[in-house]
């Protein structure tokens, strides 16, 4: 029994593990005590004084973020004393806050706006001028600071200290002249710097990448997984008008907690680069039907002795896409199986979230190839020359190291790709497929978590999900793959890959309009 304590919050009794703070305990009861400086992923400093509550037998109000729950403790969060404290604290916080909402990127998802409206909602009583500070402070490569908007909660300082392990931000001066600034000789350039923008409860820190591009309440959020590296940080794709505007981390205690790296945040730009929007046959746009027929005809020559055909699975594509192609390859009985992916970047690995392997699905592709009994070799081994009998290649993705222009010329290449680059333009037939943000599917990260991605918006032009393209190609070559949804591919896959046999496909998540989600913070 020493492991848990029971206390009463606003007349409701609750039992929580020992060491839990009152704020978290109240949250379990559905009572969201207001706070600026408290963040569940950061050390507690109790400096915003916004979460003050009354604890019986205690003469003064206590910050609920720092107050650890005690046995038999009686807490009041809505009594006159703590209600007044919250109101006064908000009034105090707003004294020097600039009138920026119409031009502030945080408006709509601002904790200060939310708490003021929830807990104070009173008129201004200030009749003196506001203290002015610097409006545009360039803190580093990705972030701009507005010192007037800053409410000095220190979340960003702690984020740099804890997440990146680098002390790059500090407070300077005192009183109403206190400002956030970079530490002496430092700039805000760590690999996790943009997390400070997420945790900022106001619009003080804004990302250069996102600021002045889109209003927060106009966006819709779809849960997904970052495709920047093998860690597979859980993210939300925030999108509008059929394109992503930013990626923000989503809580997953086992993978990335509340954080993600800056590099991962920028991967959404790639979704709009050099996209393949229509099937291409010998350099000219073609319909799906024609492209698939030509591909089948070209491959048909070799299908009698399929050992002349090779397939390239991609560590950049989802489990479903790879599984579909591998299953087709098995049905054909191909002779060569390769795995393609970006080369590792050892300098990236930092023992935190960033790892050397910059392919999102290396583990998944290996597991799938293994399950089919393929001896898959990396494509860069083709550097040593093509195997004697390799005549045709069906390849997934646009990153295929080891294939140069000369080798491509010798082969009959069918490419399934989201982008028109690398070896794709040289292919006999190129079939357009959806990129990671545009189709439902799963990836497997370096710890073996099979994680779900949801389609945020539609792929461009005639592009289809990768597995769907494979189904069409299979049908044209006389093979039947009876899938009509990524879920069907997944179910089939869990029956083939032994390690994944207990996995289930959860229902699709629809994009959540952020204006319905209420304020984030």
């Amino acid at each position: 029994m020493s492991e848990s304590v029971t206390l009463t919050i606003d007349g409701q009794s609750i039992t929580v593990p020992k060491g839990t703070n009152v704020l978290e305990a109240a949250k379990l009861l559905g009572n969201d005590i207001s706070a600026f400086c408290y963040h569940p992923g950061l050390p507690i400093v109790a400096q915003c004084r916004q979460c003050l509550v009354s604890v019986e037998k205690n003469p003064k109000l206590q910050p609920s973020c720092q107050q650890v729950c005690g046995e038999g403790m009686v807490v009041h969060t809505t009594d006159p004393q703590s209600t007044l404290a919250r109101k006064q604290q908000l009034e105090f916080t707003l004294v020097n806050h600039p009138i920026d909402c119409p031009i502030c990127d945080k408006a709509g998802e601002c904790t200060l706006q939310k708490l003021y409206f929830d807990h104070d909602n009173a008129d201004s009583r200030v009749d003196t001028n506001k203290v002015h500070k610097a409006k545009v402070v360039d803190l580093g490569p990705h972030i701009v600071l507005d010192q007037e908007r800053c409410i000095l909660c220190s979340r960003c300082i702690r984020t740099c200290d804890v997440v990146a392990g680098q002390h790059q931000l500090e407070f300077a001066n005192r009183g109403d002249h206190e400002v956030l600034t970079t530490a002496p000789g430092e700039q805000l350039d760590n690999a996790y710097s943009l997390n400070t923008v997420d945790v900022c409860p106001v619009g003080a820190l804004t990302a250069k990448d996102f600021r002045f591009t889109m209003r927060a309440w106009e966006l819709e959020a779809t849960p997904s997984v970052c495709n920047g590296c093998a860690t597979g940080c859980n993210i939300e794709i925030q999108h509008k008008n059929e394109r992503a505007w930013r990626l923000v981390p989503r809580l997953n205690a086992e993978v990335n907690q509340y954080w993600m790296c800056d590099e991962g945040r920028f991967t959404y730009h790639g979704l709009r680069e050099e996209r393949l929007a229509s099937a291409i046959v010998e350099g000219l746009p073609a319909s799906w039907d024609k492209a698939v027929q030509v591909a089948a005809k070209r491959l048909g020559v070799f299908l009698k002795d399929a050992s002349q055909i090779g397939i390239v699975l991609s560590a950049l594509c989802s489990n479903e896409d790879n599984y579909a192609l591998a299953k087709l390859a098995k049905a054909w009985g191909v002779g060569h199986v390769y795995i393609a992916g970006k080369p590792p970047v050892p300098a990236r690995a930092d023992g935190k979230l960033r790892v050397a392997d910059v392919n999102p699905n290396t583990a998944g592709v290996k597991a799938i190839a293994e399950a089919f009994g393929f001896t898959a070799i990396p494509t860069y081994e083709l550097d040593r020359g093509l195997p004697e009998n390799l005549r045709a290649l069906v390849m997934l993705g646009d990153v295929v190291p080891g294939l140069d222009a000369q080798k491509l010329k010798e082969l009959e290449v069918i490419s399934l790709s989201a982008h028109e680059r690398g070896p794709v333009p040289s292919a006999r037939v190129a079939l357009p497929i959806a990129a990671w943000a545009e189709t439902g599917g799963t990836t497997t990260n370096n710890k073996g978590h099979v994680q779900r991605m949801h389609a945020a918006f539609a792929p461009p032009g005639a592009a289809l999900a990768g597995w769907d393209a494979v189904v069409r190609l299979a049908a044209a070559t006389g093979q039947k793959l009876a899938w009509s949804h990524a879920r069907d591919v997944f179910k089939d896959m869990t029956q083939t890959v032994a390690a994944w046999k207990d996995l289930t496909w959860q229902r699709d998540v629809r994009p959540l309009a952020l204006r319905f989600a209420g304020s984030r913070g």
Binding site: L94, H97, I99, Q113
Partner: protein
């Protein structure tokens, strides 16, 4: 041959004329199906009525509404409480101000603001509501008379309506879709010189009504086509949920303004006219009398209306003044949150109702504590009244559909939601 005959019968719904015997040819005994609507010149509103007739006599009148369905209730779930006002304008579009007031009342009830609005706001609401009620009744009476061939009263009464619309346009900025009322009051005060203008307008309307009564009340054609047509008994009216002029014409003594008083109605003197026979002529007379009562209420309001604000100063509902919005961060945030997140209505559910043009108009709202209704429902009198149509049509002639339907006063926007 037998098969061909059956087929013909299936297609035509009856035997072909040459296949009939002599007696049958004189007067086919089979029932016939006739469509009235959805767009019919002698019916106001877009509604389809499938009449099954025995000769000229109606055996069954299957009423099929829904042509103006706009998903009012579902759309409301995606709009803030304030953004729903324009949707309510399109419910009973002949008296939109009353709908506005009803929607404001339901939110105010959940927020505990009922009875706490500024006095002037309540008076303004009653004034615009009663003006709307007049336009509603004028339209109903005028259009019904026209459909029976009396074109003059239609022009006279619609001209009266236009005078009121012009006044309402001065008040709200829009002729028909006012969106004038807000939770906690109304959006702006009455324009300067409104009182004298309305008084002059009411005088003119009163004199026009005398003319129209002279033209209609004892008009032989009009009375023949209205009296004894589409009668509903008091019991049936109650049983089917009829309210407003239809129920009152049948002798049901029920008026929300008097029986469940809201706003400042307890302070105003007015009578609730009752009919005896419940037929179309009584409905017409009840509406005429109500018009006079509306004018009476308006005249009292214009005398009693106090000065003062027209919007509650409760920060939960009132937008801050522009001066404050642009110069203080507190008001800026409040303005932003009101517009973007909506007026935050406490969690709970409630039903609020008032006397609409057609009777008890009610809104039921479930709130989850956010700025948007979790569920909104409207009890629209037109929908209930239309459900009695089939019963009223029975055993009348096809020509009687016109006055019956006219006097039910089905407003498509309100009925179809």
């Amino acid at each position: 041959m037998a098969d061909a005959q059956t087929l013909k019968q299936l297609v035509l719904g009856r035997k072909d004329v040459q296949d009939l015997s002599d007696t049958e040819q004189d007067l086919p005994p089979d029932l016939m199906t006739v469509n009235m609507g959805p767009s019919h010149p002698a019916m106001h509103g877009t509604v389809r009525i499938v009449l099954t007739v025995d000769g000229e006599k109606i055996v069954k009148g299957d009423v099929q509404p829904g042509y103006l369905h706009r998903c009012f209730e579902k759309e409301s779930e995606h709009a803030t409480y304030t953004q729903v006002f324009p949707y309510t304008d399109r419910l009973n579009y002949v008296s939109p101000m009353i709908n506005n007031c009803g929607w404001a009342m339901v939110a105010e009830k959940l927020m505990g603001l009922t009875g706490k609005l500024p006095r002037r706001a309540e008076y303004v609401r009653v004034i615009v509501s009663e003006m709307s009620r007049i336009t509603d009744h004028l339209t109903c009476v005028g259009a019904s008379a026209m459909e029976l061939g009396a074109f003059t009263p239609f022009l006279y009464l619609l001209k009266c309506r236009e005078w009121l619309y012009e006044l309402l346009e001065k008040v709200s900025g829009a002729r028909l879709t006012h969106s004038y009322v807000r939770i906690g009051g109304v959006s702006k005060d009455l324009p300067e010189g409104f009182g004298p203008e309305l008084t002059a307008c009411l005088d003119k309307i009163a004199s026009v009504m005398v003319e129209c009564e002279t033209l209609l009340n004892n008009n032989k054609i009009f009375r023949d086509r209205m009296a004894g047509i589409g009668a509903i008994s008091k019991e049936d009216a109650i049983k089917t949920g009829c309210v407003g002029p239809i129920a009152r014409s049948a002798g049901v003594d029920y008026d929300v303004r008097r029986d469940y008083p809201y706003s400042i109605y307890p302070e105003l003197e007015f009578d609730v006219p009752l009919g005896t026979t419940g037929d179309c002529y009584d409905r017409y007379l009840v509406r005429l009398e109500e018009l006079k009562q509306c004018i009476r209420i308006l005249r009292q309001c214009l005398v009693q209306i106090p000065d003062g604000p027209v919007m509650s100063d409760d920060h939960r509902v009132a937008l801050p003044a522009k001066q404050a919005t642009y110069n203080t961060i507190e008001s800026m945030i409040r303005h932003f949150k009101h517009i973007m997140d909506g007026v935050r209505v406490p969690a709970g559910e409630t039903y609020a109702f008032l006397e609409g043009g057609n009777g008890e108009l009610g809104f039921f709202v479930v709130s989850d504590g956010t700025g948007r209704p979790y569920k909104a429902y409207v009890r629209s009198p037109s929908f209930v009244h239309l459900s009695t149509a089939e019963m009223l049509f029975k055993n009348h002639f096809i020509a009687d559909v016109v006055p019956i339907f006219g006097m039910i006063n089905m407003i498509g926007g309100e009925c179809d939601k």
